[in-house]
Symmetry: C2
Subunit: 425 residues, 2 copies
């Protein structure tokens, strides 16, 4: 079985909205072994939708459409499906009752445009909407389209997601005879071409049905290893063998071979040893703290953060000596080290990470250009304070993100070293 996704809505073509629905649907379909061939975003004009639906139904067994089922004037997806298939609509009782209950709950009155949301294409299977009022539907499109299936869902992400999970995925899981396994390999501190050289032998002999993709991002490169086949055990084995071969070649750059983030990896390392962390941030403005606290349960190892933007705050809150700032400048390894030490003392944490730099767009100089980051890590009961200076490239928000990534990477490497030493002693 092969699927295509059609995302309806002018806002997608105007760049007013990013198409996150398609990514969610692709992911969900991969879980039941249904590969997605194409994703098409198109206008909500009826003639355009009729063409796009027809083309996709010729190519794919399953075409999933989101958007254009709501009560406002720009909702015309059902009209397009009617025209394409030459069918009428009928009132669905289950959908009508759901709609009536929602209308009552919000103190509204039934109107023709609201009632229309319970009308479905003749002969379709209804997808109940547990999060909203517009009914979804699964339509078998007849011989004209090789009995391929058309699935219509609302564009509101929460409504679409609930429909996918409760109805669409269970319905098509039973029909799929392929198995897909996607496994990420997440790396840090190495570029795309160097990584490619390092794993060239693995890439040269990938098993049949397995592909390897490079996904460069702000702070490194992730790999995606995908295996497709009919036998679950063989697919799992082939996929795992490739992952293991890559880990053998590039271990020191890999922080995860599953869908976990760097902050989750760090969190698990801290949590498993009962260690705590605190952060002192200037240029990252709270982003390092925010990323660490994105992880559920982070309150058990994240003690506190200091966002010390002004020199006065660096001095008053963390005790950074005014002479150090005057002598080396606020953006210097010396100030980063003093911030880390002050943060360690004030918080009582086991590790303290400090950042100071120039995110831009202004504030740079020939010696310290925009993109300069000084970071430091201090450890409890240790006189040694690590520090580093980097120059990265980007706009203000990219720099903040890359700075925060560099700080987390340094913390991760520091924890790795710490664990290795602990293992030896």
């Amino acid at each position: 079985m092969r699927a295509e996704i059609v995302s309806v809505g002018d806002e997608l073509l105007k760049g007013a909205r990013v198409n996150t629905n398609a990514a969610f649907i692709s992911n969900a379909l991969a879980g039941i072994g249904v590969p997605v061939g194409r994703v098409v975003a198109c206008s909500d004009r009826v003639d355009e939708m009729v063409s796009v639906f027809a083309e996709s139904l010729q190519r794919a067994d399953l075409v999933l459409v989101t958007g254009g089922l709501g009560p406002t004037r720009d909702d015309r997806t059902k009209k397009a499906a009617q025209q394409l298939l030459g069918r009428g609509t009928e009132l669905n009782q289950e959908a009508y009752q759901n709609l009536a209950a929602r209308i009552q709950k919000y103190g509204l009155e039934m109107s023709p445009s609201l009632r229309d949301q319970a009308m479905v294409i003749e002969g379709s299977r209804v997808i109940p909407n547990t999060r909203g009022s517009a009914a979804g539907m699964i339509i078998s499109c007849g011989e004209q389209f090789h009995n391929h299936s058309l699935v219509l869902m609302p564009g509101v992400p929460s409504e679409m997601k609930a429909m996918m999970e409760l109805t669409v995925i269970p319905c098509f899981a039973a029909l799929s005879d392929t198995v897909i396994r996607h496994t990420p390999v997440k790396t840090l501190g190495i570029g795309e071409s160097r990584l490619a050289e390092m794993i060239v032998d693995v890439e040269d002999c990938l098993p049949e049905g397995t592909t390897l993709a490079y996904l460069p991002h702000a702070a490194g490169v992730n790999l995606m290893i995908s295996t497709i086949g009919h036998d679950r055990a063989a697919v799992d084995r082939d996929n795992r063998n490739v992952i293991e071969a890559i880990v053998l070649k590039a271990d020191k750059y890999i922080y995860a071979t599953s869908e976990v983030t760097l902050e989750e990896t760090i969190g698990a390392m801290l949590f498993s040893r009962g260690l705590t962390v605190a952060v002192a941030e200037s240029c990252t403005g709270g982003l390092v703290a925010s990323r660490l606290t994105d992880v559920p349960g982070s309150s058990s190892y994240f003690l506190q953060g200091f966002v010390v933007y002004s020199n006065q705050a660096k001095h008053n809150t963390l005790g950074v000596p005014e002479e150090t700032i005057a002598m080396f400048g606020a953006v210097s390894e010396e100030v980063a080290r003093a911030m880390a030490v002050g943060c360690l003392e004030k918080s009582g944490a086991d590790f303290a990470v400090a950042t100071t730099g120039i995110a831009g767009p202004s504030g740079g100089s020939p010696e310290k250009p925009v993109g300069t980051l000084c970071l430091a890590i201090a450890k409890k009961n240790s006189a040694e304070v690590l520090s580093r200076r980097l120059v990265l490239q980007g706009d203000r928000q990219q720099n903040k993100l890359r700075f925060s990534e560099a700080a987390l990477r340094e913390l991760w490497q520091c924890l790795q070293l710490f664990y290795r030493k602990a293992g030896i002693s």
Copy 2:
């Protein structure tokens, strides 16, 4: 002129990456009056790309492709273009020099796969890559494709964006004969259906060529007013008239009628009066500080932030009385108020914003469910401390985002009031 966008890469079909490039390109094209007809994401298989490029080139004057120009094996976009057009490649000297300079900078050696990034399709115009090594190109596709243009760019967002801004947009701006104006109207604190009721008269008499779209998001609803035509003055006038009519109806919920963020709006209000702000965060974990410092120049009004995750940090760092925490709990308006007052004192800022709440997924109770937020704002030289308790709904990261949005909204409203009073006195 009409455009289509083709986003190449298996990662888009596997849901491993959200297609943000297409949104950026659509937006940039709208600025020069070029509407986008379709966005297609497809596999990086050569045969598939050849079909997709051919179909798009039949429909659209301008087809912009991103992805598949890098040095690794899954980079096959040039091969597909060669096959489609029956042309070879040639080394471009300018691109080669850029590449050689980058390779030297990073201490690498030239290799055939790296050199390939300076090879362009015969007869194409090179798009210099100021952020990376792969050259882009603009290809006039000959009579077979009605002399339509094919633009190839890398998939790395920063490289693609620089190419769009420096070369592609200037090149096609001169050729476009339509004018498009998209203006956002950004609101806070009002739902979609109430807003629709409020502006029903405006929606009923939109001028010809103007459309109005609702874009609900985590914390409110934005509107997008789009006007298309051939006469710039008429397009601008029609668009502006609609905006003014909406502002008349819903002024108090609107914080911007341009592409500015809430944090930029707040920043401008603080900056214009020489006021300063500091934040004390528990549940938002640094996100409020990070958003405020996303704004260039924020160092002139953002003094510092305290991320006080543990009760001890709330007490030690901000002087929140231990009895207050014991009596009301860490998530309470009382603690939020004490945090705001402590933050004001420690930082010396004019305004202090404090958040404490339960982002989840654990930590909730019947009285204080996951999603509970208590926030407070203290003002310098004022005994009055504002505080509020809200219950929002979402997963941990959504809650953090909505909490931060609520805190910024409260600050915005507080600044509005402050300005109004200042205007009177």
